[in-house]
């Protein structure tokens, strides 16, 4: 049955909660008894929501067109290096074309190191809260919390470095990583890799090479390091 203007106005009034008394009772009874009317009401609700989603989508598109895209880098050797490592890092993930316009530099190389302390049993300390933020991708909050820890352990320095790196703050990341005594920590192998890609992010290939050369066979990301070295040299 075709929807009348009066029905539509009833839908609106019900949707906005402005029906009351007998009108409300009568409307709800009709929803129960008349399946076609009830379906029309649900279609009305879906239509209203979709109109809002579409209008909001217009606003998002407008903002995205006006705002600058985060800095892209020139196509050069870095593109090849990062794209090659992208293949290695992503493993079974579908690989993008290496000859397209993809923006693949530090971003392609970088993958956050997992929170290895996530299952430890303890009361919620600043470190726990920081790592929880890190795990959900709130790197800004994680870095702020980690900075508050007065006597930072290697773990604190390492995840602080990762949090900065995730925000593209290479200098702060390098500073945190180099606060760790790399000869005496459980993070030795990871430090070599993440320092290397920090230098790649800073366009300092010599330093990146030196760091990658420290990764020995069988160590963390050894194979990827060899691939990057081959392209950097």
């Amino acid at each position: 049955m075709s929807l009348t203007d009066q029905d539509q106005e009833l839908f609106e009034a019900y949707h906005h909660g402005s029906l009351s008394g007998e009108a409300l009772t009568s409307f709800e009874e009709r929803l129960q008894a008349d399946k076609d009317f009830a379906t029309s009401y649900l279609a009305y609700k879906q239509a209203v929501k979709s109109l809002k989603l579409s209008a909001f989508g217009d606003v998002v598109s407008e903002v995205m067109q006006e705002q600058p895209t985060p800095q892209s880098s020139p196509k050069n050797q870095w593109l090849k290096i990062a794209a090659a490592v992208l293949i290695l890092i992503t493993g079974t993930i579908a690989i993008v074309s290496l000859t397209g316009d993809e923006e693949v530099t530090f971003a392609a190389l970088y993958r956050p190191y997992p929170n290895i302390l996530q299952d430890r049993a303890s009361t919620a300390s600043t470190l726990d809260n920081a790592l929880a933020a890190y795990q959900t991708g709130d790197y800004e909050k994680a870095a702020v919390l980690l900075e508050q820890i007065r006597q930072p352990s290697d773990t604190v320095h390492f995840y602080k470095g990762m949090s900065y790196l995730s925000q593209g703050a290479f200098d702060n990341g390098i500073s945190s990583f180099t606060s760790i005594d790399s000869s005496n920590t459980i993070f030795t192998q990871q430090l070599n890799w993440y320092l290397a890609i920090s230098y790649i992010g800073k366009r300092q290939p010599e330093k990146a090479i030196r760091q990658l050369e420290m990764i020995k066979a069988g160590e963390y990301n050894y194979q990827k390091a060899q691939e990057v070295l081959a392209l950097l040299r």
């Binding site: 279609a43 609700k45 239509a47 979709s50 579409s54 892209s72 993930i93 993809e102």
Partner: protein, 184 residues
């Protein structure tokens, strides 16, 4: 959610200027992270699509009261975008991961919403779309719609709105694109 309340209010306000301010804030805060995440296995175009989709899912979830305020809106948006990207990769059946994310995207709801939006854009004439958005999103009065669309009277604005909406409801009904089958 107090720190975030202006963002929340801006998004659901229906006021384009307020909404734009909130969206710009979220874009500046979250887009770089989303882009980095997508670029690990995708390209720039996909990063932009995921962010745009993520914003729409965020708005839907705010409208539906699904956001509990347990995290900041920015963190919630990033989780949504990660969910969307992982779902996208899973469709290619070449993705394996033990990454555990909170399930913040209702795929079926998104599918229905996307189809109705596509239907709206392809089957309803552009002026009708704008009139309906002005009424249902911006919540303009018939008097304001009359002025904005250069119509002869508030009554003719109302007639136009009813006619356009009638067509959209009929299309949604005909295609069976109704996600919520339960009356509130």
């Amino acid at each position: 959610m107090s720190k975030d309340s202006w963002v929340y209010n801006g998004i659901i306000s229906g006021n384009r200027a307020e909404s734009k301010k909130a969206v710009t804030h979220l874009y500046e805060k979250c887009y770089p992270s989303v882009q980095r995440y997508v670029l690990m296995s995708g390209n720039m175009e996909q990063a932009k699509d995921i962010f745009q989709d993520g914003m729409t899912v965020l708005y839907n979830n705010l409208l539906e009261g699904k956001f509990q305020g347990n995290s900041s809106i920015a963190t919630y948006l990033i989780s949504i975008c990660k969910n969307l990207w992982l779902n996208e990769l899973k469709k290619t059946k070449t993705y394996e991961s033990d990454e555990k994310l909170a399930n913040v995207v209702d795929e079926e709801e998104k599918r229905v919403n996307d189809k109705v939006v596509a239907l709206l854009q392809s089957q309803i004439d552009p002026e009708c779309q704008e009139v309906l958005k002005a009424y249902y999103y911006e919540e303009l009065t018939m008097e304001q719609i009359k002025t904005q669309f250069n119509l002869s009277s508030a009554q003719s604005a109302k007639t136009k709105k009813l006619r356009c909406m009638k067509k959209l409801i009929a299309l949604v009904k005909e295609k069976g694109l109704i996600y919520n089958f339960f009356l509130k």
